[in-house]
Symmetry: C2
């Protein structure tokens, strides 16, 4: 196993650059992930690793994972502690890092089942929120997530981590024309719901939510755009007893998906 | 108005230290906040500011807020752009910063209404999760939140920000003896629910949730401790169709509080 002892090693620098730049990730078709669980999740989901890095002191504890990676002819590098510390982006680093190929999420829209349930997310910029939404979507069993331009890059380290690997497994549609797609799905008979903090909107709990459905949530501050609101056939709100406009986007999405899945 | 032009100014250093250290915040009885909305929220909630800092370029746009602060005889400082950049901890800084007195949250437990609904949080360490829980608790209308030792400090800048000021307004009980308090509340007739990812637990949607209730959620990785589980009178789970154990703590808490509030 080759050892990396310099923090200026080109592979280390490439790892850090991939973590920092969405443009570089897109150009290279690569992303990075950290930790034993995400590495195993990635392998389980058929993601192809390009390289794996283990701090020397943790090699023994993670021997099974190392063997699994090496069995796929993927190069594994040993790291000194200072190099591992430079690469770490989590609060409690495990000393395990991978470079992996971005999974092909260019899913054709005709893969959307008009009888399914989907979350559609417009311009949510916080990677933690996007990651949490993907995680909740998978946990609650929706069929997929549609993302507008302007959402956080799903291959950013924070999204991958917050999603707990759901990004590997879930159907995620990165749309160029968000409103146009919603309009097309509505024309095919899907119910299109716009979640809003507007107290005048219909109460979510009184809404029939069965059948093919697309539930839209908007940007953290601005909510859904006028364009998206105009193509949805219904506005719904999570009726709140406390201060209005106060649920964050990920919490609102979780409650929305929960109510939809309860009726399916 | 006094101008601060040096990044080494003692007040600037104190601001940064208060943001970084829970111990220093507790010792001084002070916390920091950033942005016009949080500053106004703090004033609305009766928090006492010790000092306010405005980047010189934004003074005019926020003249009403500046006047409101100065009317309370609170010193307002002008900042050069490099000083403001040093103090900023948000992604899109507004150039507005305050040092404020920690609100007295040492609420007596006899203030807990045994007919109310409370969220109890054990050892949730991520400030974003604690902040999101406080925000959802306020939005959904629960009566208060009980926090165990080991939860993220509610006065950390990330909690204050993620809570969108809910931390100023909500009843938050920082408990020394988490399990003992739960036991006492149960003895007084409150229903004590332990939320768990254990598929063998009772389905949340089949549970009567009216009346006095304390709903407990646990640590991001480990869930609730054995001690807490043993003092609760019921274990409930959010039945999931996707992968088990996959909702994050804040999403699970939002769904839990949503179901409770629907039944009240």
């Amino acid at each position: 196993m080759q050892q990396i002892t310099s923090r200026e090693n080109p592979l280390v620098k490439e790892y850090i650059r991939l973590g920092a730049s969405a443009r570089h990730r897109a150009g290279q078709g690569l992303f990075v992930l950290e930790g034993a669980r995400l590495a195993a999740d990635a392998l389980d989901s058929g993601a192809r690793l390009r390289a794996a890095f283990f701090e020397t002191g943790v090699l023994e504890r993670h021997a099974a994972l190392v063997r699994r990676i090496q069995a796929q002819k993927i190069p594994v590098y040993g790291l000194t502690a200072p190099v591992a510390a430079k690469m770490a982006a989590t609060q409690t680093p495990q000393g395990i890092f991978c470079i992996a190929e971005i999974l092909d999420k260019a899913l054709s829209l005709d893969k959307i089942s008009i009888y399914g349930a989907y979350l559609a997310v417009e311009a949510v910029q916080d990677p933690g929120n996007i990651g949490a939404m993907l995680r909740s979507a998978e946990a609650l069993g929706v069929d997929g997530v549609l993302l507008s331009p302007g959402c956080a890059d799903i291959w950013s380290p924070k999204v991958v981590r917050a999603s707990m690997g759901a990004v590997f497994r879930l159907k995620v549609y990165e749309l160029q024309d968000f409103c146009g797609t919603l309009r097309a799905l509505r024309a095919q008979g899907m119910k299109t719901l716009a979640a809003t903090a507007d107290a005048g909107a219909d109460d979510l709990t009184r809404e029939p939510l069965s059948g093919g459905i697309v539930a839209c949530v908007g940007n953290e501050g601005a909510g859904l755009s006028a364009g998206c609101l105009s193509v949805c056939d219904k506005r719904v709100t999570i009726r709140m007893k406390g201060r209005a406009e106060s649920l964050n986007a990920a919490a609102a999405a979780a409650i929305l998906m929960w109510e939809i899945e309860k009726q399916r």
